[in-house]
Symmetry: C2
Subunit: 580 residues, 2 copies
């Protein structure tokens, strides 16, 4: 799929013009390239940043590669070639590559995998290399990746080293590198790393074995736990290995955890991870809107996992969750101008914050900069997640304007989704044999049947875009007595820029009015206006009384799409609003 316009076309353009250049600048400023130059013996100085600093470059390179595939040209091509050459020079003769360990702890290579992120960084290198190969860019990157992967195979597969990286990531990357190269030992190593997890092979870090999903063997764990991004990257690898090795029990355990996670641990935005401490999932139904972590990387990792499950099963529920995550948890991670990022994505920001004043405001970069380049690589490769083809059927999972080429069958898509529900698909290439054009109806499934198509023929889908109130499951304590507004794939929120948010309440039968608008700082949007209530309650002494003391008066309120929040001010925001 080539995206040519609409919300995501604009986002891709901003990503190319504003976000990626900002990221490339940070590769110098935050010491990422300097670390590698020192490791290559071409510069002097101290290692800068976290021990996983190399991974910033790898994700950045992956974004550059996918950009090259979308639209070849400078300065991205030169950056990729120079970076690949630098990596080749920094790489040890045996293939190992990690600037932190080479510079700071050369005698501790693979000796402290619980925290080292060595395999995690390697995984991001492999993913960048696969992207470069698919984009026809910087072939040296695949050479570097293969030398490193071969070294890992020698140590961890042939050499009998049973180490497991505390941060899963390399598993899915190894399978991708296997798919690219056909080198089966990469797949075998991925399978071994997955089966080694949960056997107590990861030394205690002080955060407990759940943090790194080492509490139970992968096949036995029923629920997503611990550090959310670790769990989610692990799941992508689990599905990859299960698919490539036809391992049904491995696939089943991942689906089982997916079902549990969706039913009990997923925010309405698709956000994942309820806790700041340990950046962890938390307990079932523990879904606080204010203290939710919902790391941007977790949304991206969730899309990776769901995409693999969708490819493996064809089940629409994975495409549904990708859409929810994409338009809400993921889309919110970047400002409208593409220059500021959320690391944490809560569903509520109170007024007059004291301890959390730093939260709920996007920032230009982070000392731990895992999220921004992760956002960039997903945006650059977003076209990959839109459609699939199989058995003379084209499945369109997401709706955005552009062209989808499935070989002998191709279509163009015109739509103003998510602002409007109409999707018009025009066949641009068709064989004489029948094809099915399978269009996803969110929450329902795929509609379509085999038929022969003429070039120029059109199929039209009209998705219901009536705004709706939604209510939480009764076990979600933190959302009890509240409702949220959705329209199409978009979750809405109330922001301080439009009204006082703290004491707002909605009637259960509130009429929701759709208003198309163009807002300063935000751009194109669809607002939801509604009659609402403003609650007043004295607050002196303890806030617990034998009588309900709150009273309310009528007002109106305006909601904006959640992903567009914090583009105007730093005020209060809430997705879930009390019912009157």
């Amino acid at each position: 799929m080539r995206i040519t316009g609409g919300l995501w076309g604009l986002r891709q353009e901003i990503n190319r013009q504003a976000t990626i250049p900002l990221g490339l600048e940070q590769m110098e400023r935050s010491g990422v390239l300097s670390n590698l130059r020192i490791a290559a013996g071409e510069a002097s100085g101290d290692f800068q940043g976290y021990r996983f600093q190399d991974s910033d470059l790898y994700k950045q390179l992956e974004a550059v590669a996918w950009e090259h595939a979308r639209q070849p040209g400078e300065p991205y091509q030169t950056f990729a070639e120079q970076a690949a050459a630098l990596l080749a020079r920094a790489q040890r003769p045996d293939g190992y590559l990690n600037s932190h360990y080479q510079l700071v702890k050369p005698d501790r290579v693979y000796a402290e995998l619980e925290w080292s992120h060595e395999m995690y960084c390697a995984g991001h290198l492999f993913q960048a290399a696969v992207a470069a190969a698919r984009a026809g860019l910087a072939p040296q990157l695949v050479e570097v990746a293969r030398r490193f992967a071969d070294q890992m195979v020698r140590v961890f597969l042939d050499g009998g080293h049973d180490g497991v990286d505390g941060h899963a990531e390399v598993e899915t990357a190894l399978v991708e590198l296997y798919r690219l190269t056909g080198e089966r030992s990469y797949l075998e190593l991925a399978a071994k790393l997955i089966d080694n997890r949960g056997k107590g092979l990861i030394p205690e870090t002080g955060l407990g074995p759940l943090y790194a999903q080492d509490h139970l063997p992968v096949r036995e764990a029923d629920t997503a736990v611990g550090h959310a991004v670790r769990q989610l990257y692990l799941e992508a690898g689990v599905v990859d290995v299960a698919l490539e090795t036809d391992d049904e029990s491995l696939m089943e355990c991942s689906v089982r955890r997916w079902e549990d996670m969706v039913a009990t641990k997923t925010a309405i935005t698709g956000g994942l991870g309820s806790r700041h401490d340990g950046e962890a999932f938390g307990e079932r139904y523990e879904l606080p809107p204010d203290r939710a972590y919902n790391e941007s990387c977790a949304a991206i990792a969730s899309i990776h996992w769901n995409w693999r499950l969708l490819l493996a099963t064809g089940d629409v529920r994975y495409a549904d969750l990708i859409e929810r995550t994409l338009y809400n948890a993921f889309a919110a991670s970047t400002s409208a101008d593409g220059e500021r990022f959320f690391y944490v994505n809560p569903l509520q920001r109170r007024a007059d914050l004291v301890e959390d004043a730093y939260l709920g405001r996007r920032r230009g970069w982070f000392a731990c900069a895992c999220c921004p380049p992760n956002i960039m690589r997903l945006l650059s490769s977003l076209g990959h997640y839109v459609a699939t083809a199989r058995d003379n059927a084209l499945y369109v999972h997401q709706y955005m304007p552009g062209t989808i080429d499935a070989g002998e069958f191709a279509v163009s898509v015109e739509t103003d989704y998510p602002w409007d529900g109409r999707v018009m698909i025009t066949v641009t290439r068709a064989p004489a044999t029948p094809w099915s054009l399978m269009l996803r109806v969110p929450g329902e499934g795929y509609t379509g049947h085999p038929r022969t198509w003429q070039v120029g023929e059109q199929a039209e889908l009209e998705l219901d875009m009536t705004p709706r109130l939604v209510f939480p499951h009764h076990r979600i304590d933190a959302l009890r007595g509240c409702a949220a507004i959705e329209r199409g794939p978009l979750v809405y929120c109330f922001e301080q820029a439009d009204q006082d948010v703290e004491d707002l309440a909605l009637a259960e039968d509130a009429q929701l009015r759709v208003v198309h608008a163009e807002l300063p700082g935000i751009g194109r949007t669809v607002l939801i206006e509604t009659d609402a209530l403003r609650v007043t309650e004295a607050s002196q002494g303890l806030p617990y009384t034998p009588h309900h003391l709150a009273t309310s008066t009528g007002t109106t309120a305006t909601a904006i799409p959640y992903f567009q929040w914090d583009n105007r001010d730093g005020g209060a925001m809430r997705v879930w609003v009390p019912l009157a």
Copy 2:
């Protein structure tokens, strides 16, 4: 006040017979005494435990001293004398005393106050010494304390060192030592330390300046923030200094923060601190029942602060909060047998915990053992917090059986409170001049007027013990749509041992029935039985739907006093129950 029976008399007896002996044993087992022996040059080995390990002994000694005052005897007297002698031998010639810094970092004394806890430990030593002096026990302890305090005065007051300990505690202790000794430089040092806070003199720890209340000068801060125990110990010192120096603006700032804290940051149990990360207060109205921290030490520190405010102002609201905290947040911190302790006191424990399985169960001891000896010293000194006398008036703030001696006026108290609301007070000594017997009616104030009393005359108070539903302020998002049960000073909870807790709901007009009972593992109690509802709701796919899907059926439910939870099983518990 000498407590002679009832709930708190029993608790004091268990404290003496079971808890303190267990603590003394831990002084050996956890290396506390060994550290000091090594510092005294009488043993060899490595320092064990946290850098504030000495403070465990000091709090333990304080408990032993108050026990000696209640009932002199062995083995407590010998323990205290031997410990005081050991401390004297371990103390540096210049008066400095801290086994961690003397053994591990002798060149870093007072050089890393942001984390060192040197003054914090000193404060606990001073408090133990004051207790010992008042109990007529181990006079060597006051000598040790004075030598250390004099050294601190030389360094921080005369020497111009502007350091501030990251953990407030020494301020209130210095004022107590001043009260005992009349040495004014201790008071001056306490005042200086308080005024130095909030000036950026505490180096950054990575947790931000709010963590240690260094974000604003004490007089300017409007709300309690950061590490709850630090804030609360600081407030005790603030009130002490304000009172002793007649500093009105200092007193006012503490009262201002108290009012804000009570209205927006206090759990119904009196628990304080909403966050695991940073053991912090959190934002206004951020009061999650499940992830509340409510450290046992915070409840104790709150009682210290409230007691000082009560002494300074005579305002009944401080006595009310002491009662709430005492019977709920504090009482819950110890098991019925006195041998297990909570560090964290949440108001909800879910069923089938995975990540939090370690929470919501009391434990025998902790690596960071600040809470258990803190509990012991408050229990041993509980009689101090019951009554005050002034201007020929005896104020009785809390109701427990025993004798109150105000010099020329004395009474005995008979009551079965909190199980029953009747309080009978008999005058046991009275002068010819009129005295007022001022009895606190919770939430209302003090009742009484001057009159002459005859020995043997009685006053009776009948407190309303009708159980009641209470509702949270509408801004407390985490408790919306819920109610809790209270009876007298007791907050109630529903525990898994009595029924399935997860799907329970209450009608807003639920009839609450009082049942006196004796339960295995718990002992004497008063249960509340009520008609209730059991909610059923399908849970597949995302837990957000456009329609309310929950249905409910009738059931009955039994609540027990919150402080008695976790004495039977490790199951679910909740204080706040959804309204049907």
